[in-house]
């Protein structure tokens, strides 16, 4: 009997506003128990990536579909199983200031998990754990533990959040834009921490970002969302070096290149408005797409295979894989090799 995967997001749809706004549309993803991987979920605002993070963390429940942790539906977990889930799935958020309780010194956030998950049996053991965790991110307990969050910089606060996650030793960390509020010159440190946690501690990440350049440095696999649906998915290097979906091509082309001699050439236009996407029968990118065909408005394309584990939801690539049934939803399943 094969072991269930660590996390399975099964055909999850989330609707708001009485059903007219679709934040996530039939999304599926599998994160295996091992080896530890970093899966990047990339997309612009409104793409559904934040909804996905909230759903995985149990803060929002899907309208349909389910999220399974080691085979069990997380919305149906009992008390002790819920704690076990929390123990195994942690998160880092975008705003390193808001994540702290301003009333307490920063040690409170570390003590919180030590206490709740019973990670230490004595105060000295707890202190040791905290110092070790901080050392992992390059900080010293005596320098920071008694400070209040406003006395530390954004970079320090975020690193302490990683130390907190490291203390818990979860199997999966949902990192929702962990570096977007950190200065550019300090991001490498944090990305390095993530890579070390994957390689040395065997912790998998769901790395959610809008910044493709950090995704390039970090992930194994990438899923690019557009309007709640998967546009393209596959190995990071493949997708970013040879994007196939027209949206992804535009996205990558729009990342500013730090070379004054290679400036953007085309003038591009934007859709008349963005915002919660209405559930439409056809491809949601069609209105902006230079390769638009009639059938793009009739039915949404499925994810077609382009290469090994490289898929794009676009009729341009229909020949590449098995033709889907007319009403098959767009899904993605990334099967990781052993």
């Amino acid at each position: 009997m094969p072991e269930p995967p660590l996390l399975e997001i099964r055909d999850v749809t989330k609707r708001y506003a009485g059903g007219s706004a679709v934040a996530l549309d039939h999304f599926s993803l599998v994160v295996p128990e091992s080896p530890a991987t970093i899966t990047t979920i990339a997309g612009e605002s409104g793409s559904g990536k934040t909804t996905l993070a909230n759903a995985v963390l149990g803060f929002v429940s899907p309208t349909s579909g389910s999220i399974l942790f080691r085979g069990r539906d997380i919305s149906r977990l009992r008390r002790s199983a819920r704690l076990d889930y929390r123990r195994n799935v942690q998160a880092i958020f975008q705003d390193p200031y808001a994540a702290y309780n301003p009333f307490y010194p920063v040690r409170h956030t570390l003590q919180q998990v030590i206490r709740r998950f019973g990670l230490a049996s004595s105060r000295s053991e707890a202190r040791e754990l905290m110092n070790d965790a901080l050392a992992m991110v390059g900080m010293r307990g005596e320098d920071v533990l008694d400070k209040h969050p406003h006395q530390l910089s954004g970079g320090q606060r975020q690193r302490i959040m990683f130390a907190r996650a490291h203390l818990v030793r979860p199997r999966l960390i949902v990192a929702d834009e962990p570096v977007s509020m950190i200065d550019a010159s300090l991001r490498a440190t944090i990305i390095d921490i993530m890579l070390r946690m994957r390689d040395e501690d065997g912790i998998s990440f769901l790395y959610i970002t809008h910044d493709l350049s950090t995704a390039y440095q970090v992930g194994n696999e990438i899923v690019i969302l557009y309007a709640g649906r998967v546009a393209e998915s596959g190995e990071v290097t493949t997708v970013l070096e040879q994007p196939k979906h027209p949206y992804v091509q535009l996205l990558i082309d729009s990342v500013p290149v730090p070379d004054p001699r290679r400036r953007w050439q085309e003038q591009i236009s934007l859709p008349p408005d963005d915002g919660p996407y209405q559930a439409a029968p056809g491809c949601l990118y069609a209105a902006r797409c230079p390769h638009r065909m009639d059938r793009c408005d009739e039915a949404a394309p499925a994810l077609y295979e382009i290469g090994a584990a490289h898929r794009a939801a676009c009729y341009l690539y229909e020949g590449g894989g098995p033709a889907p049934a007319a009403d098959a939803p767009a899904t993605t399943t990334i099967a990781h090799g052993g």
Partner: protein, 335 residues
């Protein structure tokens, strides 16, 4: 400028190194607090120097004016009233009594408000709907009228009963305020982290969120106290308060009964009034001071230093908004 740094040394954007978090001792809080404490002190220290038995009827020669008026004596420096009670003694007993009533009423009301408000704000849903409807409806009941009727029906009431009656009508406002505070705080980042740590809901409400609401709770308490004392005094002045305790309101009641105004015995109703004004002003100034502590509109540099984000700046302390004006008027945002 080739050597040294003649200019200031603190780098812009550097987080403040001091641990001074809240300026609890802003002067309004200090002044208001002193006024209220003075009344408390009067009640504690007064009996040591002045016999409180003089607050009983027929303990002193009646109708004496205060020391500095014609006919006054040093034996009764603030005068006496028609039933032979010494005014100074009445103040020493009555001032703290009024404060006590206010404190108990505010305490009970706030306790109920915290329970209902927190639960409604945190959980939302039907619990919130029920509490809100209840509080909103209750607020429309004319408090004083009902209290008058209730007090009149009860044959005699104690300080405790009076306080309970007052609490009955103070809880809705406080509940709404605490509910909305809880509502805004429960979306904060650290609450999410606490949920991720597996903390129970009540743990989050009371160990994580409540400490950050202390200024609001205290401010709520102070204003509830002022309102309660106001209502209590009104009841007492109508003769509906506790008859055994010589509260300030009761003294005023007797002054009205004894036609003090017509008889020119201004010290009978005037001096208790002065003490009441001190109490109310003190509480009011305290609540302004507390408002500043919990909602710092002053743009302190410490807040700027905290905003490290290269993107949209992170929010500072609770309630510290940045004033924004339309771009069209030509004024930029603060930085």
């Amino acid at each position: 400028m080739t050597t040294g740094n003649p200019l200031g040394t603190l780098l812009p954007g550097a987080p403040p190194t001091s641990t001074r978090r809240l300026a609890w001792l802003n002067w309004k809080l200090a002044v208001g607090g002193s006024m209220v404490l003075a009344v408390v002190g009067l009640g504690l220290v007064g009996p040591l120097f002045w016999s409180t038995r003089l607050a009983r009827p027929a303990s002193s020669p009646p109708d004496l004016p205060p020391l500095w008026a014609h006919g006054g004596t040093a034996a009764h420096p603030l005068g006496t009233e028609s039933l032979g009670r010494d005014i100074l003694a009445l103040l020493i007993v009555g001032g703290p009594a009024s404060l006590r009533v206010g404190a108990i009423a505010a305490g009970v009301g706030l306790g109920v408000a915290m329970l209902l408000g927190f639960v409604a704000g945190y959980f939302g849903g039907w619990i919130d709907d029920v509490v809100r409807v209840l509080a909103d409806a209750w607020v429309t009941i004319p408090a004083l009228a009902v209290m008058v009727v209730l007090a009149a029906t009860l044959s005699s009431i104690t300080v405790g009963t009076e306080a309970f009656l007052l609490a009955l009508f103070s809880w809705p406002m406080a509940t709404r305020m605490l509910r909305s505070q809880m509502l805004s705080m429960r979306g904060r980042g650290y609450v999410k982290m606490a949920r991720l740590s597996g903390l129970s809901n009540f743990s989050i409400m009371f160990r994580e969120i409540l400490p950050n609401m202390i200024p609001y709770v205290v401010a709520s308490f102070v204003s509830a106290m002022a309102v309660a004392i106001m209502a209590a005094t009104s009841l007492e002045a109508l003769g509906l308060g506790p008859s055994q305790t010589p509260t300030l309101g009761l003294t005023i009641y007797y002054a009205i009964q004894g036609s003090a105004l017509l008889r020119g015995m201004w010290w009978w109703w005037g001096l208790p009034l002065v003490l009441l004004v001190i109490i109310f002003s003190g509480l009011f100034i305290m609540s302004i001071g507390l408002d500043e502590v919990s909602n710092p509109r002053l743009k302190r540099y410490a807040q700027r230093a905290r905003r490290r984000a290269p993107r949209r700046p992170a929010r500072g302390t609770a309630g510290a908004g940045r004033s924004r004006t339309a771009v069209g008027s030509g004024v930029g945002t603060d930085q």
